[in-house]
Amino acid sequence: MNELLQYVITGLALGVVYALIALGFVVVWKSSGVANLALGQLVLFSSWFAYGMLSQAGLPVWVGIPLVIVFALILGWAIERFTLRPLIAQPILSLIAVTLGLAYFFEGLVGIIWPKSVASLPPLFPQEPVHIGTAVIKQEFLWAAVISLVLFGLLTLFFRYHKMGIAMRAAADDQKAVQACGIPVTKIFSQSWMFACVLAAVGGILVSSIGNISKAPLVETGLQAFSVVILGGLDSFLGAIIAGPIIGLAETLGGGYLTKLTWEGIKEVIPFIIIIIVMFVKPFGLFGEKRIERI
């Protein structure tokens, strides 16, 4: 019983982090129509960068983390400015291919700079485990969930009420009309990439603070965020926050129970099985925007 409770709580917490990373994908997709295939590698790269700042350079947390965030902002700006903007008005497939290139670039870069395969961040949160009912949970899970939820809430408010957020959603509908209103779309694109990188960095740090900083599993975290996006609908914030916990639960419950009964890798496959089933029923994802067509 307490095993179940533990799986549920950790699954929900992980799921919320996935949702946060997924939001970075949604923002880019919504404003520019580009599918960012480098999501997992951005998580990977910024986690290792955090390792470099906190463990290798030995900076205190309150200096190191803001530095990582600032670096993520610059990274997002640079990605948009130097790899994507030159391709504006080219077929969207070329832009998506560029993000695929970025994915390999960052993976290679991490391999060159940090050759070891596993490392760990210094503890960011208090270490004593928390007792919830009969379950014993590592405190990091709860912190990760709370931080993700707060950020998620703030971003939702930003997109609903702030004029830049509204303009970003407008760009998703009609880029030309946005320009006709005198708003630079390039600024909107570069902001969306800055969002994506910061969210990937925060998500990466949270996930790595729970376990280790690793190579393939961190990329998989990005893949999980993909599943969240597809399940929730590519362009839906609400979809991300609901699909996140579903994927998280599928991972922990599936990993916890099914691995014993079936075979080792089942944990990674379950989210995708869920996605396939959902796509049969709802091709736009659970909460994907329907195209409004007036005939």
Partner: protein, 263 residues
């Protein structure tokens, strides 16, 4: 004051669509730009608003001046900030945003929050219908409501020059009249110049002070609205009236007999 001096526009470096267009928009005036499909009216607007660059078009000759300074090398954002706002042809609303959010996007470049609020009230005052619909998703508004929203969004930028591309497109005659009354009211009350592209010559000349007729990328005729309304060619070819001013009977049409005087 906006001044176009003999501008030429070329798309993709080869297709020349404007061959020397000159026109002037005085402050506070309503200017109508008339002509059939493909005459170059929309291209002229895009050349002014800077949207041409997005479509691989370029002003290859001549100059566009706004209050004496050249603006033909500026991009859409810079021109928007100067107070020249274009409402695109064909109801480009942001479909998934609400009416109010659409208007907010129009006011994006304004710094002061309070004036944005009061401007929104102003737009609702011109278009009471939009106020009722302000929480509705714009994509589900009717065609007329969407057209109102597009014009309202342009108003939100409090432009000095508002350029409207065929606001009558696909709307019922009564609705067209309503929208034109509002444009006229906006022009007199806010002192905003309006450059109006229209195929519906009669209604455009009703509110315009001055008009230009374009054909094949050239201005072929210009004059005050009254002059154009009484011009035989305009009457015959753009209003469907015979020279006497009565409705044309197609039984008596003899095309070869009458040629446009500017040809």
């Amino acid at each position: 004051m906006l001044k176009l001096n003999n501008i030429e526009v070329t798309y993709l470096n080869v297709i020349r669509v404007l061959h020397g267009v000159s026109l002037t928009v005085e402050d506070g005036a309503i200017i109508a730009l008339l002509g059939a499909n493909g005459a170059g009216k929309s291209t002229t607007l895009k050349a002014i608003s800077g949207l041409l660059h997005v479509e691989e078009g370029e002003v290859t000759d001549g100059s566009i001046e706004w209050n004496g300074a050249r603006i033909d090398d500026k991009n859409a954002e810079q021109i928007g900030k100067l107070g020249i706002i274009q409402a695109l042809e064909g109801r480009h609303v942001f479909e998934h945003l609400t009416t109010e959010e659409n208007l907010m996007v129009g006011a994006h470049n304004r710094k002061d929050r309070n004036t944005v609020k009061s401007d929104m009230e102003m737009v609702y005052d011109y278009f009471p219908r939009l106020k009722e619909l302000r929480r509705n998703t714009a994509g589900y508004l009717s065609g007329g409501e969407q057209q109102m929203l597009v014009i309202g969004r342009a108003m939100m930028a409090t432009p000095k020059l508002m350029m409207l591309d065929e606001p009558s497109l696909g709307l019922a005659p009564l609705l067209v009249e309503e929208i034109y009354d509002i444009i006229k009211r906006f022009n007199t009350e806010q002192k905003t110049s309006v450059l109006l592209v229209e195929q519906n010559v009669r209604i455009a000349l009703n509110i315009a002070h001055y008009g230009y007729v374009m054909e094949n990328g050239r201005v072929v005729l210009d004059g005050t609205a009254d002059f154009l309304k009484n011009n035989e060619d305009v009457k015959e070819f753009y209003m469907g009236l015979s020279t006497v001013g009565t409705k044309k009977s197609y039984r008596e049409v003899k095309h070869y007999k009458r040629r446009k005087r500017w040809l």
